[in-house]
């Protein structure tokens, strides 16, 4: 990582901590440097920053968020943050225009030794529902690399910090809860696994204390 990118990473995490005093709850796994796929709920562009910020530095260096190329390539600032600072795996979400297969891009990143942060809802949740239905990508990825743990991660309160359409964040305490890992069974169908993964994330959300 270049010096400028390091500086930006430090400033972004410091700001995130100032606003959210974010805290990790390791409920189902330990913060050890093992390759993992973290899958989290998605309410804002700050989600992966919070998840990234609570990882210990050694894990952080090997963890790459998976994000939509349409958003993160739009301006040079976003490109710098997405590519240089967070080393994101940028995928094209539009089926019609895309050249690369997103699942293959993610599998390649895993083969390169990285852990991934994915948001299986596919888009930001702006409804009152705690979690949108999952897209099937998480199943295909799990099938491709069945020996890597999938860890549900619940990011609480960030939707209240910056509701859609606002640009001034409200300082509120956020937590990032890591739940028990799961893997796809060899005979598991797509629908069964996707439901199991979604339920695992929902039950991780229930361990969060308070009204979060």
């Amino acid at each position: 990582m270049s010096f400028l990118a390091r500086l930006a990473a430090g400033a972004i995490t410091l700001f995130a901590r100032f606003i959210t005093a974010v805290r990790a709850v390791w409920d189902g796994i330990e913060p050890v440097p093992r390759q993992r796929i973290y899958f989290a709920n998605h309410v804002s562009h700050g989600d992966f920053i919070l998840l990234w910020a609570v990882l210990p530095p050694r894990l952080r260096e090997q963890t790459r968020p998976v994000a939509g190329a349409d958003y993160w390539l739009k301006s040079s600032i976003r490109r710098f943050i997405g590519r240089d600072v967070f080393n994101a795996v940028l995928i094209d979400r539009d089926r019609k225009t895309r050249a690369d297969d997103p699942i293959k891009q993610m599998a390649d990143a895993l083969d390169g030794g990285a852990s991934l942060i994915i948001f299986p809802e596919g888009t930001r949740n702006e409804t009152d529902n705690p979690l949108l239905p999952f897209k099937s990508g998480i199943f295909h990825l799990a099938k491709q690399r069945p020996d890597i743990d999938l860890v549900p991660v619940w990011i609480a309160n960030l939707n209240r910090v910056m509701p859609k359409g606002e640009f001034v964040p409200i300082p509120l305490i956020c937590t990032v809860t890591f739940g028990a890992p799961l893997r796809v069974e060899s005979d598991e169908t797509k629908d069964v696994f996707v439901k199991r993964a979604r339920d695992a994330l929902l039950s991780t959300s229930e361990t969060v204390e308070g009204n979060a």
Partner: protein
Amino acid sequence: MMNEHQIDLLKLLGGLTAVLVLASLAGRLLKRKLSPDGTNTVIENLNDRVNAWWVMIILMGGALLFGRLGAILLFGFASFAALREFVTLTDTRRGDHWALASAFFIVLPVQYYLVYIDWYGLYSILVPVYAFLLMPIISAVRGDTDHFLVRVAEVQWALMICVFCVSHVPALLTLQIPGYEGRNLLLIAFLVVVVQSSDVLQYVWGKMLGRTKIAPKLSPSKTVEGFIGGALSATLVGAALFWMTPFTPFQAGLLSFVIVLMGFFGGLVMSAIKRDRGVKDWGHLIAGHGGFIDRLDSVIFSAPIFFHLVRYWWSLT
């Protein structure tokens, strides 16, 4: 060249450091004897508390040695952290976004700036008058009427508790007491030491003799024995600190008693809010202590009363 107040402050810090060294040693010893594998939660909690105390004393001492600006920045940040914890537990929603943003980024800094420039006439009414009237206006124009009264009341309470009350600690610096010029920082040290030693002594007395619960519904760890023992011994601590105040030993004891009472009942009020919200601590910022508000609650309730008592009877302004 050291001022007189800095010398007194260093004396006090020296004394506190000695107490903490003793507490740390006792903690180590207890840990070795009773909890070598870290399983005795009471002792682990005690050691966490002592460690957090070190951090607090260092921060506090450092800030106070820097004078008024240091105190303003320290308590301004404490207000910010407290407000962040408080608002997290409220039912505020989308419609309160601008009200909350102005609470954090306008009311809070303005209040501390007014304390800094010593504009008593405005900092004593900024939150109770101006914020009180303007916040609900901001929320109302957003048009969300669901639970409106509850939400507006929550924001006002958050500001009163976390900003208005806390800012009365550095406001002690603005008092003009004849014969005590340039030493007001010691009033802050006096208030904080009395409040915190009352907390610690109540904890110690409660652990040693505590039998009768004083408010089982609110705070199961508070006992009559702990309260009486802690309050009386903290009053004595306060009286013994008269040399750094403009008070006689008797006056220092009396003021300490008021501080201790307000602190105790303040703790009960804040516990009631936590019960209502279904949480045990306000936050997790400080290991062994919970959040900022858990540490500040007794200061919050005693600071404005202490400020006004001293202002009425001792200050020229």
